[in-house]
């Protein structure tokens, strides 16, 4: 024995054997002594990775009032368990029946490929043979099985019997329901480690039923997930925009940037503009579940990072007033009631747009259009027929209202007489007139063989006669501006129009802004390949001809005029704040360009614009005669060249005239007269200055005493 102990090979071998004995001992301990205990543990200790969907950031107005938020929606999800195909099919049918009983929608990707009653190929493949072939190949269990799948019905039979092995006892409808669910498991990476979502945003009844009968639904569990919710949806639709679920191509493109198949993405408005801020970062948790997929223990989690909140410059209270007023006034004009009961009104007013800005920093306080829409419809599933019908109508070119169209930034309207202050500015700045220069309006004006007639003169009233700039603006005398325009030429007008940002995008921070059209030599040459004539200048000088600007351009123009020549970049995002601790992630600083305009010029034009709303014969005095603040405004009645419809009504203004705070532009399509659009601006200002007894937005502003004496 002693010899052996000296044999180091023997000693090493003995060491190894000892190790083997220790290992065996532990195995006996684990597998035999405690085997049953670990067996029960094992049944309820299955590791699962669960995605935690990050809530999208909130969108709130300037005072923190929520506009777009998240609510909790229930989802029904499933993990793979050890069940045979027959009981899986049976269970899925029971599940679909619960969904349908409670009117819940569930994912139906299959319907894009194949439908029954009658049998047909769906939208994803029925346009393209190659796509259809590709899909059939994916579905075929064996490559040559594609030959068995010619007609839609044959495909259905093949999927039913070969692919999904659905029992004959089911009807075709039942089989199709089962197939729909099985198809989801196929395309969404069905596994035992991470659940797939079968139905999103289901009712409480469904959740209760699934939870109650969970023994019948092995692997099926419920969870909650944040869902987008819009408050006062229609009021802010064109600012906030909407979100939609990713489609297949978007998902392919974005899956590496942290998007999941069920994710939503901003498609318009702030939702699109601030997508990067609003989208959070999904988290993940590791949980242990039992063999039926039920949670037994949460191990750890990487919490989701909610998206950042976006604070808008918009004032929701003001926005509501504006939208209500716009709707009310358009309806009134359409129904030819009250002040709208004038001739030339064909009762066809359909739509309008309004923008209000803070003149001192370019913040957009109001931006809206009538008609509007409810962006929530885009959150509905593809199988919600009602929602799909509404969406189709929204984009229907025959729908005159075009609710999805964001007129305020994409609609281009001839400014009509609201262009006249700009022509006055050009005349003063270029030295063609002074505030006291007199131009005579004899009733008619001939140029290049064309005769322009003063509107009042045409209606049998006397012509305006001798006019200075302020009176010309107050009465909106066309002849004065025809003459002034021709006197200085179109290039001088356009030079000043460009200073005020007309005919260009303002750079507002929501997508799809249209660029206005500025009538000028360049444009005529390019589009009509024709030389510019003096008669063109005469028309352009009253805001007609090719001139067409977006409401946001008009609002920015009047805002620049109000604040003494600072052309701000209008913006809707005030700041972005972290939703977790409220710290400021980004603050939008006002940006502006200074227009080289003299104070005297601004004062001269202001005098005319104040007269519009105050002088006895001012074009908008009927609206503003009892308004306690002095408003500088200008009406515009724009001809659209369409004699079958009423003229457009345009109104721009700022107030208070001596200490401007707010600038507004209102456009009403087929609104007949400019002054008919003015009540919308008046309602906004009344709310803004706190005249509605609600305290107002700016309590520092005091009513202008001088006006009360009038």
């Amino acid at each position: 024995m002693k010899e052996r102990l000296k044999d180091r090979f023997f000693m090493f071998g003995a060491f190894l054997v000892l190790m083997g004995v220790v290992i065996t001992g532990q195995l006996v301990n684990l597998q035999i002594v405690k085997g049953e205990y670990y067996d029960t543990q094992s049944q309820r200790r299955l590791l699962n990775n669960v995605q935690i969907v990050a809530p999208r950031g909130n969108i709130v107005d300037r005072n923190g009032i929520p506009i777009a938020v998240n609510r909790l929606g229930f989802v029904v999800q499933m993990i793979k368990t050890k069940t045979d195909t027959a009981s899986l099919n049976e269970m899925l049918l029971r599940l679909v029946n619960i969904f349908e009983k409670n009117n819940d929608t569930y994912y139906k990707s299959l319907s894009k490929y194949l439908t029954i009653n009658p049998f047909a190929f769906g939208s994803a493949v029925n346009q393209s043979e190659s796509k259809l072939d590709k899909w059939k190949k994916e579905m075929a269990v064996k490559a040559k099985d594609v030959e068995l799948m010619n007609t839609p019905e044959e495909v259905f039979r093949y999927l039913r019997t070969v692919k999904f092995k659905i029992d004959n006892k089911y009807t075709d409808e039942e089989a199709y329901k089962i197939m729909t669910m099985r198809y989801e498991t196929l395309i969404r990476g069905y596994s035992s480690t991470s659940p797939i979502v079968l139905a999103s945003d289901v009712s409480e009844e469904t959740v209760a039923e699934v939870e109650e009968r969970h023994n019948e639904f092995p692997g099926v569990t419920t969870d909650v997930e944040p869902k987008r919710k819009y408050i006062d949806a229609e009021t802010t639709a064109h600012v906030v925009g909407y979100v939609r679920g990713l489609d297949q191509s978007e998902y392919e493109r974005l899956k590496d940037s942290g998007y999941e198949m069920n994710d939503i993405i901003g498609k318009s408005g702030i939702e699109l503009q601030a997508e990067q801020d609003l989208k959070g970062k999904d988290g993940q948790k590791r949980i242990e579940v039992d063999t039926g997929g039920r949670l037994t223990e949460e191990i750890d989690q990487k919490p989701a990072q909610p998206g950042n909140d976006v604070v808008l410059t918009l004032d929701l209270k003001l926005q509501k007033v504006a939208m209500d007023s716009l709707k009310k006034n358009i309806e009134m004009i359409r129904n030819k009631q009250g002040a709208a009961n004038v001739k030339n009104n064909m009762g066809d007013a359909v739509a309008g747009s309004v923008v209000a800005m803070d003149v001192n920093n370019g913040e957009v306080l109001v931006l809206g259009n009538y008609p509007s829409y409810d962006p929530s419809v885009f959150l509905e599933g593809a199988d919600n027929k009602e929602a799909q019908k509404i969406i189709t109508e929204l984009f229907d070119p025959n729908n005159e209202g075009k609710p999805a169209f964001n007129r305020a930034i994409s609609g281009r309207y001839a400014p009509g007489s609201t262009f006249k202050p700009l022509v006055g500015i050009a005349g003063l700045e270029e030295g063609y007139i002074t505030p006291d220069t007199i131009i005579n309006d004899p009733g008619v004006y001939d140029v290049d063989g064309m005769r322009f007639t003063c509107m009042e003169y045409r209606n049998g009233q006397p012509a305006h006669g001798d006019l200075k700039l302020d009176r010309a603006l107050a009465t909106s005398c066309n002849i004065y501006f025809h003459k002034l325009g021709v006197m200085m030429g179109i290039d001088n007008i356009d030079k000043w129009a460009r200073y005020f940002g007309l005919g260009d995008v303002t750079g507002i921070d929501i997508p799809n802004e249209a660029k206005g059209i500025l009538a000028g030599k360049e444009y005529k040459k390019k589009v009509y390949n024709d030389e510019w004539r003096r008669a063109d200048t005469a028309q352009a000088a009253i805001g007609q001809l090719y001139n067409a600007f977006t409401p946001i351009e008009m609002a920015n123009y009047v805002s620049t005029l109000a604040n003494g020549g600072k052309r701000f970049k209008p913006h809707l995002i005030k700041r972005v704040i972290s939703s977790s601790d409220g710290s400021v992630v980004r603050e939008e600083k006002p940006q502006y360009e200074q227009v080289p305009i003299k104070k005297e010029t601004i004062d001269a034009v202001k005098k005319g614009m104040v007269a519009v709303t105050n002088a006895e014969d001012g074009t908008a005095v009927s609206v503003f005669h009892d308004f306690p603040f002095q408003v500088a405004g200008k009406t515009g009645t724009a001809e659209t060249g369409d004699i079958h419809h009423s003229n457009n009504g345009v109104f721009i203004c700022y107030a208070p005239a001596n200490d401007p705070k707010i600038a507004i532009a209102v456009v009403i399509e087929r609104g007949v007269f400019g002054y008919l659009a003015a009540p919308v601006a008046k309602d906004i200002m009344a709310e803004y200055f706190g005249l509605n007894g609600t305290g107002g937005t700016e309590d520092t502003v005091k009513p202008d005493e001088a006006v009360f004496t009038r």
Binding site: L16, I23, L27, Y38, D39, R45, L47, N49
Partner: protein
């Protein structure tokens, strides 16, 4: 510089060590089935089929290589060994610069076209054994300049260990140290030196705890010492591994039937924790079959080392045996919760084509020594 005395004539077919070879083959084939079961359900987008393909390829190449190597007279390794040693040192240096895997803890992988990626340290274990055995032989046989040979032995051992520590891969460094300890022990180093080393290592361990070890390494050790306390973190894998193994009970759940295995319950079940698949699906009986095979192989190797024709062959085999044994024992030990977690795979079973090939190279060398060993029977021509 080295004189190589060739073994005289021998009968390849007759003297081939079938017992060892067949045991390794059976173990590998069991391993393939177990791996196939482990990779059926994989988390994330890991492709189980690809793992199986690489493993089968590694198996085929490994078996062929081991047979080829067994025909080479191991004494030739005295010369080839220098080249291989230098080659693997170059690779170990290279991996520090262009290696991958840094985000998993150690930059120990080299990307190679066609093969995919492999760990130079796997190769270095073998080449170190092959190379330093020559010095141990000289020391053992009392050649002159003993101290010089001891110094060379020490330096050539330190070099790969140092490089592996730079990656840093402490688990592999431990394997190197274990191999050297076994070789030195067999060489006959007196026990008092071992006790001395053990004593000296205490301050080293304390110092490295505070200055060298990364947090994840500390937590692994803490988790091993107090698994309940560290349930959420480091011992999570072990807890699941133990649960899976225990649930297998005597007869196992059956191949492809394990609840934990087939539901990706045990993390890295295809590699570090593959023994949990054996325990769960094949049960105590299956695990014992695997254990008996493993320890048959190890004891057989020790026997071959003892009976080797010369000390060089003896050291060669005992070094490689040390390498295999520490892999087997540490891997199984951590899966059943009696040793702390390191990223050391189970030879012939854990996924990894290049590991499979290197293990078979070791087997080939051992076979070569075995075929040329002293026989007790009379046909010994020596």
């Amino acid at each position: 510089m080295y004189s190589v005395e060739k073994t005289k004539s021998y009968n390849y077919v007759k003297q081939f060590d079938y017992a060892l070879f067949v045991a390794v083959l059976i173990l590998s084939i069991i391993g393939l089935f177990v791996l196939n079961s482990a990779t059926r359900v994989m988390p994330g987008n890991i492709n189980g089929d690809r793992i199986m393909l690489m493993q089968s390829l590694g198996f085929a190449i490994g078996v062929s290589l081991s047979i080829i190597i067994s025909t080479i007279d191991y004494k030739d390794f005295k010369i080839i060994g220098i080249v291989l040693y230098i080659f693997s040192i170059i690779l170990l240096v290279l991996v520090l610069f262009i290696g991958t895997g840094a985000q998993q803890g150690s930059q120990s992988w080299l990307r190679v076209p066609l093969i995919g990626s492999f760990q130079p340290s796997e190769l270095a274990k073998i080449t170190m054994v092959v190379f330093v055995s020559t010095f141990l032989e000289r020391i053992k046989e009392g050649q002159k300049n003993k101290n010089g040979n001891i110094a060379k032995f020490a330096v050539y051992c330190m070099l790969p260990i140092g490089l592996v520590l730079l990656e840093p891969d402490f688990g592999t460094a431990m394997v190197f140290i274990f191999i050297i300890v076994v070789m030195v022990y067999i060489c006959g180093l007196e026990y008092k030196y071992f006790w001395g080393c053990l004593l000296a290592s205490i301050p080293v361990i304390i110092l490295s705890w505070f200055f060298v070890l990364q947090d994840y390494q500390k937590s692994r050790i803490l988790a091993f010492l107090a698994p309940e306390k560290y349930k959420q973190g480091a011992s999570f894998n072990v807890t699941h591994s133990i649960t899976a193994i225990g649930s297998g009970q005597i007869f196992g759940k059956g191949l492809y039937q394990g609840i934990q295995t087939q539901n990706a319950g045990v993390p890295v079940k295809e590699s570090d924790f593959i023994f949990s698949v054996i325990g769960e699906e094949l049960g105590f009986i299956g695990a014992m079959v695997v254990l008996v095979l493993i320890f048959f192989i190890l004891i057989r190797c020790v026997y071959i080392a003892k009976k080797a024709r010369d000390s060089y062959g003896s050291f060669l085999v005992i070094g490689l045996t040390g390498m295999l044994s520490i892999h087997f024992i540490e891997n199984i030990g951590m899966c059943i919760g009696i040793l702390p977690v390191t990223g050391i795979p189970l030879p012939f079973i854990s996924s990894g084509g290049s590991a499979m090939v290197t293990n078979y190279i070791a087997v080939g060398i051992i076979l070569s020594v075995s075929m040329r060993r002293q026989r007790t029977i009379f046909n010994n021509t020596q």
